[in-house]
């Protein structure tokens, strides 16, 4: 990539991330609302496990799931479906008419989204730890951080892959995202060990970065919890591989779908 192209990419990324981060700061209510929402979901599963008579380590499992779920939702609604909203608002055509690559917008959205989601997720995590008195192993925290970053890389990569669909499709794609949100969240093992899905479903679930990422984080931070899919080292490597594959597919998909959308006059078609 030439210097000029790189600078354009970075400037676009910075500008879009700025909007996402500072735009959110002007809407203070989301902080309380989204933290409470995450906390209540966490509480639901923790009390469910207590009803089912499982061990206390399941609380740690749920709290970690509660920490990751906002990122999953941000990837789905803040990145994957974002181009649908940009199209509806009339921004997509202005973005495409500019020389900035679409990938830069999406990476900017991802960076901004991840940064603002971090605040929310940390608040949910600390709330969960304090209220439900969950214990985590602090010794493996640096490794946990590394695994977390690798998981994010892979998750947002997948989000960008799906975002390309919205260059061509409209409400049908948005509805599909809405349809798969809950099942995907469930299959990713956000609130239960993915190991219990069985081999068949696990094969599909493993393509969702959150599945392996959460499993790896649980191994590192809740060592008393021994139900795992694979060793966390293997899971991290798979996540890195997935992230690179998603990045490659995203790059190809954005170009390819944009061409198709320009050919079929779908780029500026609103209210599909």
């Amino acid at each position: 990539m030439k210097k000029k192209q790189l600078l354009l990419f970075l400037r676009t990324l910075n500008a879009r991330a700025y909007v996402r981060i500072f735009g959110q700061m002007r809407e203070a209510t989301w902080v309380v609302a989204s933290v409470l929402g995450g906390f209540f979901t966490m509480a639901t599963y923790i009390y469910l496990y207590r009803t089912l008579g499982t061990g206390s380590e399941f609380s740690g499992l749920v709290v970690l799931g509660g920490f990751m779920t906002p990122f999953f939702l941000n990837v789905l609604w803040g990145v994957a479906t974002q181009l649908y909203w940009e199209k509806e608002m009339g921004n997509l055509e202005l973005m495409l008419v500019s020389p900035a690559p679409l990938s830069a917008f999406l990476v900017g959205l991802s960076v901004g989204g991840a940064m603002h989601t971090m605040l929310r997720s940390l608040a949910v995590l600390f709330f969960g730890i304090a209220v439900f008195k969950v214990e985590f192993t602090v010794l493996h925290l640096p490794l946990g951080l590394l695994v977390f970053l690798v998981t994010l890389f892979s998750m947002y990569g997948l989000g960008i892959v799906f975002s390309s669909l919205f260059l061509y499709h409209g409400r049908d794609a948005w509805r599909t995202a809405d349809l798969v949100m809950e099942p995907t969240n469930v299959l990713s093992g956000s609130y239960f060990p993915a190991r219990f899905l069985g081999v068949g479903l696990l094969g599909i679930a493993a393509l969702i970065p959150t599945t392996l990422g959460l499993d790896a984080l649980r191994q590192l931070l809740v060592p008393s919890f021994t139900v795992r899919v694979l060793d966390w080292r293997w899971e991290s490597l798979i996540l890195i591989g997935l992230g690179l594959v998603f990045a490659f597919i995203a790059s190809w998909a954005l170009r390819s779908v944009e061409y198709k959308a320009r050919r079929d006059a779908r780029l500026t078609l609103r209210w599909q």
Partner: protein
């Protein structure tokens, strides 16, 4: 009445005209699965001995029907104002905004119920769920459930009318809290005593328990077991009346205030 029916039609078009009819039918059948998939997995793996699967599954399914109404009403304000930018035209029309919201939500409720019925057709035999419906309680409960959810939805819509910077996460948070306490997924006996007491007074709790009994033909846990089914019906009717009246007043107030503050046609996208 015309306005209500027209709103129902608008709701149906918004929900369905993005794809072919047969695809949409598949979609409405598949949509509720996300709401009970976790229940089946968790109770299937960990809760077989508890025998609580029917309790949790019926509870989650009927909570889902209410949540569709609640979310649709709250989100409609946001959607009509920011996305379709038609909120001002609805206000200018002769149909009250309350009627419009209720019409849209009624369609959503019927679609949710259709999805529930389709899924119960395979869930009941596949999971051997108790199924001895009392049609009288079922029909009455269905109608009253709509009014309970509509009342809550109207109240939430009034909040969205009064603020332009409120994120839809507020609805998530509120409904999430009620879901935990409602006893939909597990009996509230798991909570500390004070929260277990509060759970009995969450608006959805009596409705969900009523519908469980109406479908299964029995009392599945000790939650609200001190009340007969008829008493539950009375309580749901009272909740429906109070909530719907309160929601109507709030949304009328919210509409007037929104007009006064110029919030009818403002956008806040980022």
């Amino acid at each position: 009445m015309k306005g209500f029916l027209a709103s129902m039609y608008v709701g149906l078009q918004i929900e369905s005209n993005w794809t072919k009819k047969w695809v949409w039918v598949l979609y409405l059948a598949a949509y509720p699965i996300g709401s009970f998939l976790a229940v089946i997995i968790l109770y299937g793996v960990f809760g077989q001995k508890t025998g609580l699967l029917p309790y949790a599954l019926y509870g989650t399914i009927f909570y889902y029907s209410l949540s569709m109404v609640f979310f649709d009403m709250a989100f409609s304000v946001h959607d009509d104002r920011e996305h379709y930018q038609t909120l001002k035209y609805i206000f200018l029309s002769s149909t009250s905004y309350r009627t419009y919201l209720c019409g849209r939500a009624a369609t959503r409720y019927l679609i949710a119920l259709a999805g529930i019925v389709i899924n119960l057709c395979w869930l009941v035999p596949a999971l051997r769920l108790p199924f001895h419906p009392n049609w009288g309680y079922l029909i009455a409960g269905t109608v009253l459930g709509y009014l309970v959810a509509a009342g809550l939805g109207l109240a939430m819509a009034s909040v969205f009318l009064l603020t332009i910077k409120l994120d839809i996460d507020v609805v998530d948070a509120l409904f999430g809290g009620m879901f935990v306490l409602s006893g939909a997924l597990f009996p509230p006996t798991a909570f500390p005593a004070v929260f277990a007491e509060i759970a009995e007074f969450v608006p959805m709790s009596p409705f969900i328990e009523l519908m469980r009994r109406a479908v299964s033909g029995k009392v599945l846990t000790s939650f609200l077991s001190d009340m007969s089914t008829f008493q539950l019906l009375g309580r749901v009717a009272l909740s429906a009346a109070v909530l719907f009246a309160l929601g109507s007043v709030l949304v009328s107030f919210g509409s007037r205030q929104a007009q006064r503050k110029g919030y009818i046609d403002v956008t806040t996208a980022f």
